[in-house]
Amino acid sequence: MSVQDSAIDAWVLHRRPYRETSLLVDLFSRQWGKMTLVCKGVRGSKSDKKSLLQPFQPLSVNLYGRHELKNLRSVESLGPRLALREQALFCGMYMNELLNRVLLPQVAQDALYAQYEHSLLSLAQSAPLQPLLREFEWVLLEDLGYGFDWQHDAETGTEIDPGQTYTYMAQQGFVVAGTGAHARWQGQLLLDVAERRWGPDSLRCAKQVMRLALHPLIGDKPLKSRELFIQLERR
């Protein structure tokens, strides 16, 4: 089966102007993962596709082209655009930036796609933001092969002891913290995160661990969307 044969379900991650009236659009699709396409003539005043080709709008697209950069044949909406506001909108932009940074072109990520869709719908229904982002990051790490076990010691394989202090080893998991380890958490907190019992402490722990675990994927250049939150929290 090739990309051209059938309609593809997708969400727009990002779009940028291309030439006078075209757009370059990055999609996250169910069938083909991330893809980039040229949408010709959609910025003109006569086209109504520019309102569809926006983030947070469920789409069905038909493409053509033999190279990695595809062309848009047609696009239809699969439902209303999600009305994200304020913090929920910033969270949506954060997920898009994260996906745009870490996804490889044309590799389908079924679990991650389902989680992305679920997260966006929850955002639109004003679900609590922090647990939603952490669970999204969790599925992202697992689906990209960077997952690790929250319930067992990575060195010995024994279950995490609630009373013990642990530290995170990149791409392996948790080990008992030596005296020199600067990032350390109580075993109980790790088990809370594993069971998704969210409270202020377990959320902070999950955030710190996710930050460390995402680092090899994101690299040294931090995600810009984080600034939207940092600046608001500071004020």
């Binding site: 991650l13 990002h14 940028r16 030439r19 006078e20 109504d48 309102s51 569809l52 926006q54 983030p55 947070f56 709008q57 909406s77 209303p80 655009r81 506001r85 304020e86 909108l89 910033f90 932009m93 954060y94 898009n96 930036e97 745009n100 995600l223 810009k224 969307s225 600034e227 939207l228 600046q231 608001l232 004020r235």
Partner: protein
Amino acid sequence: MQFSPLISALIDAFKVLPGVGNKTAQRMAFHLLERNREGALNLSKVLHDAMEHVRHCQRCRTFTEDAVCDICASAKRADSGLLCIVESPQDVLAIEQTAEYHGRYFVLMGHLSPIDGIGPAEIGLDTLAEQLAEGGINEVILATNPTVEGEATAHYIAQLCREHGMTASRIAHGVPVGGELEYIDGNTLTHAFQGRRQL
């Protein structure tokens, strides 16, 4: 065929213009050489002056060769207590042509777009926060584009305004005047319904 070095340089130079490729650049270069040398000399002088002297207005960030642009310098506009926030200098022009608005502007020169590396600092929101803190503004009108990035920018600035105890309003989105409902895309129509007003 190879052109002489000066002609090649001229053609290459024209290619900095948006939408101008090799062929158009050649046509421009030969047109000026054959038919309008005077105009071309004038162009080069004006181009040079503008590039040397046009800067950003210290208050609203739009383009001007003075320290503060005419709109910001006007006392009448400052008295209105209105501040309209737009993405580009072209937007200022479009609003000015309606002759409907008599307040001041703040030009972001872009919108929040984290994927492209554009955060709050890049669009001058620290300058805006200082101006909000100075006072003299009663209402902030958010006239950013109805795109996801424009909405995010509007929400972010609205939060800033709330912290300074100011009201922020968003311009309405909806059906173009003289248009027909049947040809309007669903998202715009949804907005139009959500923003309906009692008559």
